[in-house]
Symmetry: C2
């Protein structure tokens, strides 16, 4: 009985740490949510990338505003990659998201860490800082897409 | 010449106030962006509605977290309703968004004002406060959908 109680507690702890199943009624809902939040993040990141590449005029205030949205959005998608959301809807997620979940989480964490640095770089008002941070963040996006997203 | 200069300045001021055209390369991009940001907002609002309706157990911390996301997301969609984005993609936006734009902006402002109150209500830790704010916010969503979105 003691073992079962401990197992129950661990199970409950897991659910409270990863409540994706409880948060989305259907896999399609989770898929739509993660795609939507990543798409919004991508829109704002692409503006920063445009500035870094000289395609959009650099404006420190606009850069900081866009980076703040990227930083906020980067926290959202991950609860929507719960078990059972590997199929349904029009997902491009590879099976490795779930079969190599530790590596996926590591890639997601790395992206979020780069995005925090991006937010700080955008606030310095220096284009060179932004360029370096955009490059590092873009690398973390690519790393995850290469390993965990079908084309 | 004086008149032309003034006209040019006004034109530039309009663009800097409403830079939607500059922010989205294609109407489809703007449509995807506004749908994505509203969808993410809707996901988090539906959790608060679930708590208000007793379908999801009330948890003050979870409510405050979800309300914070709703509050952030509510600021995003509006630049993506620029001129020329009434068609393209799979938009449900009615022509009235543009033909009666002042009324649309008023509805959007009202929703954002309700959402700020929702964030404050979620922080009180009182379910009754949340219920009242969810009801008012839901009314502002419905008002805008009834007038400006096709079913």
């Amino acid at each position: 009985m003691k073992f079962l109680s401990l197992a129950s507690m661990l199970l409950m702890a897991c659910f409270s740490l990863s409540p994706a199943q409880a948060q989305f009624a259907k896999p399609e809902d989770a898929i739509k949510y993660r795609q939507s939040s990543l798409s919004v993040m991508g829109t704002h990141f692409s503006r920063l990338a445009g500035m870094a590449q000289g395609k959009i005029p650099y404006d420190a205030k606009v850069a900081a505003d866009n980076a703040a949205v990227v930083e906020f959005m980067a926290k959202l998608p991950w609860t929507a990659f719960g078990e059972g959301t590997d199929q349904g809807g029009n997902t491009k997620a590879k099976p490795e998201v779930w079969s190599d979940n530790a590596k996926f989480k590591d890639a997601a964490d790395k992206m979020q860490a780069e995005v925090v640095k991006l937010g700080a770089a955008a606030k310095t008002g220096k284009l060179d800082d932004l360029k370096a941070a955009v490059s590092a963040t873009g690398g973390s996006c690519k790393n995850c897409h290469d390993n965990f997203r079908n084309k």
